[in-house]
């Protein structure tokens, strides 16, 4: 390091000679912070998404590195939201990455007092069996339907998901299919 570099690296010098007379920006920057880059700038990929909370439909950009979501920001291109997000939308990265998320199937047996683990395939088999048994138990042949099965949800599901849900339940004869839209 030469003397000139040494002097120019001195914050007071930079403050007096540079564009930051108050010493609150570039003048006070350490080499470490100078070398930092935004994780949005180095992300492997960016997905164009939409906020999952209220119905305004704010645009989100989801930044991904090494297969993990590293940041979610408002999409400035959106004519609806112009890059803005509210406290909930701004917190939606932690909705996705929270360690409180349930990531394995949990099962409570009849009269049980605690949760047990179940693998996903077993759970799906058990649910399929129960759906058919409930359909049978509540079958009403006069109206080609079952009153044994109910469903409620979800207004944060995709249209494509709701489409399959209604299609399957209707063909099964299950009519007690409801949604937050009734509430």
């Amino acid at each position: 390091m030469g003397v000139r570099t040494w002097i120019e690296g001195w914050p007071v010098y930079r403050q007096l000679t540079g564009t930051d007379p108050l010493g609150r920006g570039a003048a006070a920057q350490s080499p470490r912070s100078k070398a930092l880059t935004a994780r949005t700038g180095t992300a492997d990929s960016v997905a164009r998404s939409v906020c999952p909370y209220c119905a305004v439909g704010c645009g989100q950009r989801v930044y991904v590195s090494d297969g993990q979501v590293t940041q979610i920001e408002g999409d400035p291109d959106s004519p609806i939201s112009r890059g803005r997000l509210c406290p909930k939308g701004s917190a939606s990265k932690s909705l996705v990455t929270s360690d409180r998320r349930v990531t394995e199937v949990l099962y409570r047996r009849p009269y049980g007092t605690d949760w047990e683990r179940l693998d996903l395939d077993t759970a799906m088999d058990m649910i399929a069996d129960r759906v058919l048994a409930a359909r049978d138990a509540g079958w009403d042949p006069r109206h080609n339907r079952t009153l044994g099965i109910s469903s409620l949800g979800g207004a944060t599901l995709d249209n494509e998901e709701n489409y399959l849900i209604k299609k399957l339940f209707t063909a099964m004869g299950a009519i007690q299919i409801e949604n937050q839209a009734r509430i």
Binding site: A47, R48, S49, Y53, C54, A55, V56, V62, G67, V69, P76, D77, S78, P79, I80, C86, P87, K88, L95, S98, R101, V102, L106, Y107, R108, P110, Y111, G112, T113, A123, I127, R130, A133, A134, G138, W139, N144, G148, S150, S151, L152, G153, A155, T156, L157, D158, N162, Y163, I165, K167, T170, A171, M172, I175, Q176, I177, E178, N179, A181, R182
Partner: protein
């Protein structure tokens, strides 16, 4: 709006900067009030008097936009001589049936209307199946040429009927019922009318708490009447804007998971009414009427082709007989009561938390405790999965885990960034989301879950000979699988099916006018036809807003047919010219195309080449019967309805009824509350007494609930997040300084809030955000609670919905949960089993003994 839809509120702030005047009417001062020019505190549950007062002001001073009203509304149509108003019958319209508690709507019709309207039996069925409004949206059977009086002077014309109906809704009555001083009220009337007309438009914005009343539909109707009278519908800067509360709740209605609807607002068939395919289709399209519903057969056949594929043929009525039939109310609240009664075996909760988020939390939890099995699909451990373990009823001893038989599966869900698909936001815009990452562990999308559930069920029944399994066997379910595990269906494939395609070639249809009734097209939701136009995912369009005009048509896709503003034909005058240069939006260009075309900033909500001068030939029906100046093309008469001659269960005009629980006697009519409301009269669903019943003083205060900016609905997506939990860490109740003094409540201390259903505790926030109101000569106090809290999560608290009982709007079966009565006491509520005798004491004092019934019809007073 600033509280619950903060980013949408930026446009209100923009408008304010450009000179718009902002008025906020709300029981509670919020962040919206803080930025409004005028804040008007009102009593919760009195909205029809407030808005009816505005209508009275408009009509008394003839401030309506007369050319618009004459051309585009039914103001000039003559109503039957037999119609009697609530002003004549002390709170009832003509045709009331005291046995069924609904109306025979025959006398509500226009003069000269040929078709028989709904009798009381039809209306009762419509209430049970929430299809009163389907009638409206499908257009009622109305002939094209009913008698009219363009001078609006005939005493039987809609304009004069409306004027008489609201004549008593004076500024003085508004003060007496809503607690709003006349000067303040008149300021709102003047601002609204001054800012409407040729040169200016006013927008009415509501959040869907408005629907959560026993007269919810009529609140919205009252707003719509004002906007029609002032010429604010179908025009830029106008309209009635419903701010819906969930990312895809609009989509969940369009492609419904609702018991009474199929995709695109086609009705689920009802036994006795829709026993054959022909009956079903004709009840939707009304063969003799005008409007686009006349093509309903194409939409219906195309849906059945999408469901049942090659197995749907003309010979088997496209598989219509495989559809299950309704016989009455199968709504979510009826279901919960049926669970308590042991009639339902299994329950799916798909991103939904009724133990906290639905009215009458205790009924919700006890219902779930009486199932064979429950499947919960969610991101986090929510109250509805854990009710058997640490719910309030476990504390009181009403529910013992070792005695609760419900088997519970928690199957974790994928988040919004771990799957691809479309949300439909509150302005009917579909926006495609790209998938960012794979979901962790066992987390799966609903697309995955239901595809595989369907596959497994179909496999199990593949060789069944039982006729009831035929529909399932025929169901098209051959979705290709993708992804790292090769087991995930593609959202885009499903979206293509929703869009619709030519059966022979598989080519996407360009829009719903291309759908056919001969089985040559399939379409999963006719109003979404066009979202995959030209084989392009139109919902994924992302041209930056800054590079487009203010309508921004190249961002996302809006149903129907990518129209951003509905009924925008009304933005031009009857001759097709913009009402003013300043408010031009869609207009007729006589020089465009071969013989003129509709053009403008938006996709015209009208046939592109039908000139304003077009008049239908004698005997025309369907689309051909729509006149060149019929702006409301889905209505059976092409007009915006100031008066609803059929379809609404509770009357052709909004009338003030008190909420089901009110401390106030209805000052306008003998009839206290909505005489057609949907009631579940059960000992486990008690209603607090209201005047003229005795003991109303036991629950003397009004409470209302709503959202905080920092939380979301039942808390499943917010009370689990550290940032949001830190921002709003505890359940609280807002009370005025006057009420705090009256009941000895300390700021930051505890209060107990009591109703006939439950008692909850909350921290007290003493604030002048709430104002005691002078109602009918006495002081009425209101309190406010957020409804986000429950017993699971990073931050917990008692659930406000536990306070609320189940009484529903008769048109749509949505609960009254925005207003009720309560008592307030200082200190915490009794814990554990002590809570039960505490509540029993209240019920005894309120006269809610077994056998107590609130009469539907209010008896005459001595």
């Amino acid at each position: 709006m600033a509280e619950a839809h903060p980013v949408g509120f930026q446009w209100v702030v923009e408008a304010k900067k450009r000179g718009a005047e902002i008025i906020h009417v709300d029981p509670r001062f919020t962040r919206t009030s803080a930025l409004a020019h005028t804040y008007v505190p009102v009593r919760a549950g009195a909205d029809i008097v407030f808005l009816g007062g505005v209508i009275n002001y408009i009509l008394s001073n003839e401030l309506d936009f007369r050319e618009y009203v004459l051309a585009y509304t039914n103001a000039s149509m003559l109503v039957s001589e037999d119609f009697q108003d609530t002003e004549d019958l002390d709170g009832l319209f003509s045709g009331y049936d005291p046995e069924k508690n609904v109306y025979d709507q025959t006398t509500w019709q226009y003069q000269g209307q040929q078709h028989t309207a709904q009798d009381a039996g039809d209306a009762a069925e419509d209430r049970e199946t929430a299809s009163g409004l389907e009638q409206e949206s499908h257009g009622p059977p109305i002939p094209a040429d009913v008698p009219r009086d363009p001078t609006l002077r005939d005493p039987r014309c809609v304009y004069q009927v409306l004027k008489r109906h609201y004549a008593r809704y004076t500024p003085e009555v508004v003060e007496q019922v809503c607690g709003v001083p006349p000067e303040k009220f008149l300021k709102v009337c003047e601002a609204w009318t001054r800012n409407s007309g040729r040169e200016r438009t006013t927008a009415l914005v509501y959040s869907v708490g408005w629907t959560q009343h026993s007269v919810g539909v009529q609140y919205i109707r009252t707003g719509a009447i004002i906007q029609l009278l002032l010429g604010n519908m179908g025009r830029p800067g106008g309209g009635v804007m419903a701010l819906r509360g969930h990312a895809s709740i609009q989509g969940s209605t369009d492609i419904p998971t609702l018991f009474n609807l199929l995709p695109g607002y086609l009705p689920m068939p009802v036994a006795g009414t829709h026993d054959s395919f022909r009956q079903w289709v004709d009840s939707i399209r009304h063969p003799d009427q005008k409007g686009f519903w006349a093509n309903a057969e194409s939409y219906a056949v195309s849906l059945l082709k999408a469901y049942f594929g090659d197995a749907a043929t003309a010979e088997n009525d496209w598989g219509f007989d495989w559809l299950p039939k309704l016989t009455g109310d199968h709504g979510t609240y009826q279901q919960v009561l049926d669970m308590i009664d042991g009639k339902i075996k299994g329950y799916f909760l798909l991103g939904q938390n009724p133990a906290v988020g639905s009215a009458h939390g205790k009924a919700q939890r006890l219902g779930m405790a009486n199932l064979d099995w429950l499947v919960v699909r969610d991101l986090f451990m929510i109250e509805s999965a854990e009710f058997w373990k640490n719910g309030p009823e476990v504390a009181t001893g009403e529910l013992v885990p070792e005695e609760c038989r419900t088997e519970v599966f928690v199957v974790p869900a994928a988040s919004h960034v771990e799957k691809e698909g479309t949300f439909t936001q509150t302005q009917r815009m579909l926006q495609w989301r790209e998938k960012a990452v794979e979901p962790p562990g066992d987390c799966r999308s609903e697309l995955w879950f239901f595809y595989h559930l369907g596959r497994m069920v179909k496999e199990r029944l593949a060789s069944s000979q039982d006729p009831r399994d035929r529909g399932l066997q025929a169901l098209t379910w051959d979705y290709p699988l993708y992804g790292e595990r090769h087991d995930e269906p593609s959202g885009e494939d499903v979206l293509k099916e929703i869009n619709g395609y030519d059966v022979a070639t598989g080519a996407p249809v360009p829009g719903f006018t291309a759908l056919k009734a001969d089985g040559s097209t399939a379409c999963g939701c006719w109003i979404y036809a066009g979202v995959y136009k030209d084989g392009v995912n139109q919902a994924a369009r992302r041209k930056p807003g800054a590079e487009q005009d203010w309508v921004a048509r190249e961002w996302g896709w809006v149903w129907p047919a990518d129209r951003r503003t509905l009924y925008n034909r009304a933005s031009a005058d009857p001759d097709g010219r913009p009402w003013s240069e300043r408010k031009k939006y869609v207009w007729w260009d006589p020089d465009a195309g071969e013989a003129g075309e509709w053009t403008g900033y938006d996709v015209p909500d009208f046939e592109k080449t039908k000139p304003p001068s077009y008049r239908p030939p004698e005997g025309a029906t369907g689309v051909a019967a729509i006149s060149g100046d019929d702006a409301f093309i889905m209505q059976g008469d092409g007009k915006g309805w100031l008066y609803a001659p059929s379809g609404l269960i509770d009357g052709p005009l909004p009338t003030h009824y008190e909420s089901v629980e009110s401390p106030v006697r209805n000052p306008l009519y003998r009839q206290q509350a909505n005489p057609t409301r949907k009631l579940y009269d059960r000992t486990d669903n008690l209603v607090n007494p209201s005047p003229p019943e005795e003991h109303a003083e036991v629950f003397p205060f009004i409470f209302s609930t709503s959202r905080l900016t920092e939380h979301h609905t039942a808390g499943g997506m917010s009370r689990q997040l550290a940032y949001l939990s830190e921002l709003q860490p505890a359940m609280f109740v807002e009370v005025s300084p006057e009420l705090a003094a009256l009941r000895g409540l300390d700021h930051l201390g505890w209060a107990t809030i009591v109703t006939a259903r439950s008692a909850i505790e909350a921290r007290v926030l003493v604030t002048d955000r709430l104002t005691p109101l002078r109602i009918d000569g006495r002081t009425v106090h209101q309190v406010w609670l957020p409804y986000h809290f429950g017993f699971s999560g990073l931050v917990t608290g008692d659930a406000a919905n536990d306070l609320i009982g189940i009484t529903l709007d008769p048109n749509v079966l949505i609960q009254e949960s925005k207003v009720g009565t309560c008592d307030m006491r200082p200190g915490r509520r009794p814990e554990g089993p002590e809570l039960l005798p505490f509540l029993a004491g209240y019920r005894r004092r309120a006269g809610l003994d077994p056998g107590h019934h609130t009469p539907m019809l209010t008896p005459p007073e001595d």
